[in-house]
Amino acid sequence: MNFNTAALIAVLSFNCLLAGAADITGGVFDSTTKKPLPGATLIIVGTNLGAVTDENGRYAIQDIDPGVYVLEISSLGFKRITREIRLEKKTSRIRIDFSLEESVAELDAIIVRGESEASVIEQEPIRVSAIDTKELRIQSIGAADVLKTTTGVVVRRSGGLGSTADVQLNGLSGQAVRIFYDGMPLEFLGGGFDLTNLPVSVIERVEVYKGVVPINIGTDALAGAINIVPKSLYTDLVEASYQFGSFNTHMASIIANKKISDRFAVSLNAFHNFSDNDFQMEGIPNKTVVDSIPDRFGNGFQLVFEDVPIDNARRFNNRHRSTFGELGIHLRDMNWADELSLYTTYSTRFDEDQHGFRIDAVAVGDANRSSNGFTHRLKYTKALFNNKLRFKYHGVFAHGEQSAEDASLFEYNWFGEVINELDELAGEISGSATRITVDRLSQAHRINTTYEFSNNHAIKFSNFYSRLEIEGEDELGLRVDIGGELIDPNEFPSTLITNISGLEWNGKWLKNQKLNTILFGKYYYYDANATDVQSTVRTDNLQLRTVNEETLGYGAGIKYSFTDDLFIRASFESAYRLPTDLELFGNFLGVFPNYEIRPEQSDNFNVGINWKKRCKNNFFIKTSINGFLINTEDLIWAQPFGQEGSRFENNRDTQTLGLEWSTEIRPDQYSRLVINITDQERTYQGFEASSQSQGATFIGTAFPNTPFFFYNLQLALGAKSLRQIYPNIQLYASLFHTQEFSITDIPANGDPLPQNLIPTQDEVNVGLGYTTDNEKLSSSVQVNNVLNSFDLFDNFRIPKPNRNIQLKITYKLL
């Protein structure tokens, strides 16, 4: 398969290389202020050629065949202009500058064509993938689906819309991967939304920073960071979408923006999701009464149970409901602010839990979780000194409440029937009944400052500060005896303060800025405060515990452009991941505190080569090959502790070595093929002295539950011939392949047991989209898991939904 794909790319590339072409370069400026206009769009009408200006207002459109073209230039808040351009055969490069006048309305300006913002981001010296959702917006997918279409990313869920998702990036997962919404860590945004319930309609793009994370994004990520960038508009627009389909799934979203004046706009971004998620599963053990036998003490009969595999298990306690609404007020071009946005968000969600980590013979029938909260965000930007000094602030205050109820008097089988009534409330998932509510009060503030010494050198400073206060109540949970009074330990508040500062120097060197460099350092600090419950019990007096630590990280990146189409880059970061409150303070349910725990540390090395080519016949190809090496030390891991229980400790080192290949081919402006292949291996490398002998023989063996080879293919088909007959129709399909892997350790000389293997999986989704001529109305029908495979699994062999159909309609009112 790899060979065939490579051959196809080679042939197509050769065809492309036969064509000769010219380049247009130049700059776009504000006609009034004469300032450069970053983000302005230039397109050659009738082609898919185009560009977006960089932060200095510069652009370059390459490989344009001789001929006469109309060049359209637009930018938010400015009047669109068109210019005719004639390219003679002997022309190889021309330079044209444009000046734009401010405009009242410029609807189409928000449609990014040619070199998108995502493409620009991908050309940074550090390794980053950016997925532009523009071409995905008619599809029935969400943020998690968008995310997994890039290389090196595995998204594993516990089933259906809204279900818990674990993101694995370059072999690392959990706390090593940080997820941001509009540059702000998700955990500070109220808890009502995340990757699993954000529809694609409200997303501008998804940025995936692998390994090395720039100072303006990162907090304390080890494996990388994922930033979901919402749509942000400064024009009049109302776009609504509604999706419905199998399992009683409904997803509605609306984006509305009203430009009141040149300096004032309001926006609304909202969605509502609902799904029963009641898909069917095969091969599920189902607790069944198979017999009754006489009681040996003469007390009637005893029922005999067996776990009988069934192929028609249906998830019946799996509903998801979420609502999100965000109102925004936007000011721009004020004396005191270039841009100021205020957002108020309310989000709420409710999720039923059908099972725990794994599926067993008894279905969970009553457990559920919910959360809701208000979030207030402020974004501010101001440029000074002729745009040489740029200042950005993004702050958030959030108050959220999260609840979890795992207390039932019943036990259910996989037909949803009650098979056992209990004498007292019991936990269906956890070992004991719980009905916990946690109040989370959080704030986070990020400051980014950039000062450009010249066109080639800039220095950036970033500071991220966050404070999280948690207080809870579990009306059914453990009580500790303090001075004769039984106290719910969840009632003791805890706080976690984090501050991460970064200083970065960007340099551009050599002729035409062929060499780009980044050098940065980060300062990590955390301060955790909680009640030391065990000490409080010992002394009968409230004992507060403070833990703080500081450390330094650093990194560098370099990019060399051989041409505008070919560059290589390499980057390195020594990064840290700070302990969480659970890892520090435990949970009163078997996890003991460890006040001595250290941050996890990793050294990330990345190297890659990127090449793209655009041809006269609109053929476009882009490919990149990247290698990465991540050495993680002091991995925080739960270990058995005491007579029973566990404690998080820094006791192992791992190494992840990987290779990624990504290629995008556009035979014409209507079709697209994207191939992303990841081959990686994460292995144990060492163990801390106290556990040295325990794992010595596993050094060099695979870290469990980590896929090592996977690829995805994304195909959008609207070939020219097809478009001539059905001009508004697009066919699209995707294939996700994951090679077999083990969820347990594999001994040096052994093989994993079959029951511990996740088999090789191929998930195929297909869709058909239709868009009207004026692009106001679009609709699609999508069939997921079209092969109806019951051998598709998420985390720990949890089956994915069987074949399902989703319909989606999107309509632009303005």
Partner: protein, 585 residues
């Protein structure tokens, strides 16, 4: 093929009389040079061994002829000095007067001498007629023969000469029981079948399991105790904590089901040394439970966390619950479950613990009669906050019937002291016995006199892992507060606890429970005071696990000679257990 018997009936009668006399006075199986031979009743040649089972010490004899045969006086012989007449054995099914096609199954263990067991590895068994003089070297009186395991077993030459076996070098190679598939005329190895390795359940050998870095269980079978290094790097891996046996009975390990489904399983070892699930007991409730105990072939006890006020009685053969004992009459401080069972006669002593985290301030036994299904009483001992130490198997009761309770204390609450208490033999109530092993081992360890595990032996002896060393960091902390532990701040106490945990502070000691003394077992390295440890008694030696920064190993300790030495290293992970399939715990 039929044998030829040319001699006359009168001659056979004479020889029979003489032989009976001689057999009565001195059976001559061991005398290979006994001389005379005689004619036998032709019908006896159709009496055949049809099943030979060294694993169960039984055999089947069938009359494949057309005439009834009395085999009461037939002899079994394994070789010189190993013989016995069938009349000395108990028939499991059938009798020794075999009708046509009738089979008798003999329990060899019922014989008082001679052939009371069949060698597992290799052997040759002859069936002799005593229709006349018994001479095991005489081919004429061998009625049937079978050899297994290896060639050239005792009496094979006679059997071949008598055409009762095909070749001295041919033998049955496979797993018992060996079953005869031929007809009355067929002899030799080609007519004997063995059991497929997958269908065999080994009753001897050892299982070792270790924890992998991910907490998974790596498991391997060893037919004999390893020497040098027990290499588990090619063992089977089960998911986390899903293979931690609670009990062994009749070669089956009773454990939580390895797929994590919350049920119990009994797992045997097949002929390939692989663990096989031989039965599953699905609990009525869905709570994971880990407490299961087999009493005998038909009775076992388990506790279902979803039914805290009950003890369930099950049949290990069918793995079905067929009785429940209502324990609601027992006193409990709050919601509870049972942590371990101690079997004393027909009574079970069920140790009470909190249903979830935390501790009780008193140790409580609920007592029930599992034959009648009745709650019979309780006993308690005020320990202070306690978590108690529960090693594998039925170890809290010694040979004299004393029940010993190792109270681990509760390090994260107020009780740093581990102690031992007792329900004396003949009583159902705690007496006032109390013993702190760590203080006996090191009186200076006043701050943290903790015990990691206690294993009780006979004669008031026990071995225990106790904290004998005080880390330098703790000494520094104490010196910083004037040497008085009472002056330590809470943070300093936490630091001290952490040091005790992460440093190698524990040693195996031998306890004299009566004298309340502790003697460090010399020759064993230090290890973590709270390391996962395991103790087993095998062949008169005590196997003690060592998990330290430098080794994972089992050492043997001879309680009589007080000598300890390394038995074998373990490679593949940190030691969880060593299980002897031949022992019923």
């Amino acid at each position: 093929m039929q044998l030829q018997h040319p001699r006359s009936v009168s001659f056979r009668l004479l020889i029979s009389i003489l032989y009976s006399l001689s057999a009565t006075i001195f059976v001559s199986c061991g005398d290979d040079d006994d001389g005379t031979t005689m004619d036998l009743d032709p019908v006896e040649e159709f009496v055949r061994l049809t099943v030979v089972d060294p694993s169960e010490e039984s055999l089947s004899i069938q009359n494949l002829g057309t005439t009834e045969v009395d085999i009461t006086n037939f002899q079994l012989c394994l070789g010189p000095g190993q013989y016995n007449v069938l009349s000395n054995y108990t028939a499991i099914t059938g009798d020794l007067n075999l009708a046509v096609n009738e089979t008798v199954v003999i329990d060899l263990t019922s014989g008082s001498e001679g052939v009371t067991a069949l060698p597992d590895d290799s052997g040759g068994l002859g069936l002799f007629s005593i229709g006349g003089e018994f001479n095991s070297s005489d081919p004429e009186i061998i009625r049937d023969y079978v050899q297994w395991g290896s060639a050239d077993q005792n009496r094979v030459d006679q059997a071949v000469a008598a055409e009762r076996w095909d070749n001295a070098t041919s033998f049955i190679n496979g797993f018992a029981p060996y079953t005869f598939s031929g007809g009355s005329d067929d002899v030799g190895v080609s007519f004997w079948n063995t059991v497929d390795a997958e269908d065999v359940r080994l009753k001897s050998g050892f299982i070792i399991n270790v924890a992998t870095p991910n907490g998974d269980r790596l498991v391997k079978y060893f037919s004999t105790l390893p020497t040098g290094t027990a290499d588990l790097t090619d063992g089977e891996v089960f998911q986390e904590s899903f293979f931690d046996p609670e009990d062994i009975f009749n070669g089956e390990l009773y454990t939580s089901r390895v797929d994590g489904s919350g049920a119990f399983a009994k797992m045997g070892v097949n002929g390939n040394g692989e663990l096989v699930e031989d039965g599953v007991l699905t609990l009525p409730s869905n709570d994971n439970s880990f407490l299961i105990k087999v009493v005998d072939e038909t009775t076992g006890l388990l506790h279902d966390r979803g039914k805290p006020a009950e003890i369930s009685v099950f049949n290990p053969a069918t793995m079905q619950i067929d009785g429940t004992i209502d324990m609601s009459a027992g006193m409990v401080p709050s919601t509870h479950r049972y942590q371990t069972f101690v079997i004393s006669g027909d009574e079970v002593y069920a140790a009470v613990r909190p249903a979830q985290g935390g501790t009780f301030n008193t140790f409580i036994f609920h007592i029930a009669n599992f034959r009648t299904g009745q709650f019979v009483g309780q006993t308690e001992f005020p320990t202070g906050p306690t978590t108690f130490l529960t090693p594998f198997g039925q170890n809290w009761m010694d040979d004299a019937g004393n029940i010993w309770v190792p109270n681990g204390g509760a390090i994260f609450e107020t009780n740093f002291v581990s102690s031992i208490h007792r329900v004396p033999s003949g009583s159902s109530q705690f007496d006032d016995y109390s013993f702190v092993p760590a203080l006996a081992a090191n009186p200076l360890n006043q701050l943290f006199p903790q015990t990691g595990q206690v294993y009780f032996l006979s004669n008031n002896r026990a071995v225990a892992l106790v904290i004998t060393e005080v880390p330098d960091g703790v000494i520094d902390l104490l010196q910083s507060v004037g040497g008085n532990p009472a002056n330590l701040s809470q943070e300093q106490i936490d630091q001290a606890i952490n040091l005790f945990f992460i440093e190698e502070t524990g040693r195996w000691v031998e306890l004299d429970l009566e004298a309340q003394t502790a003697a460090v077992i010399t020759g064993l390295p230090l290890q973590g005071g709270f390391a996962q440890t395991f103790v087993a008694e095998i062949n008169g030696l005590i196997y003690l696990s060592i998990t330290s920064t430098t080794e994972d190993a089992f050492y043997t300790y001879d309680i009589n000679t007080k000598q300890a030495q390394k038995a074998f290293d373990v490679e593949g992970g940190s030691i969880i257990g060593l299980y002897d399939l031949s022992q019923n715990n």
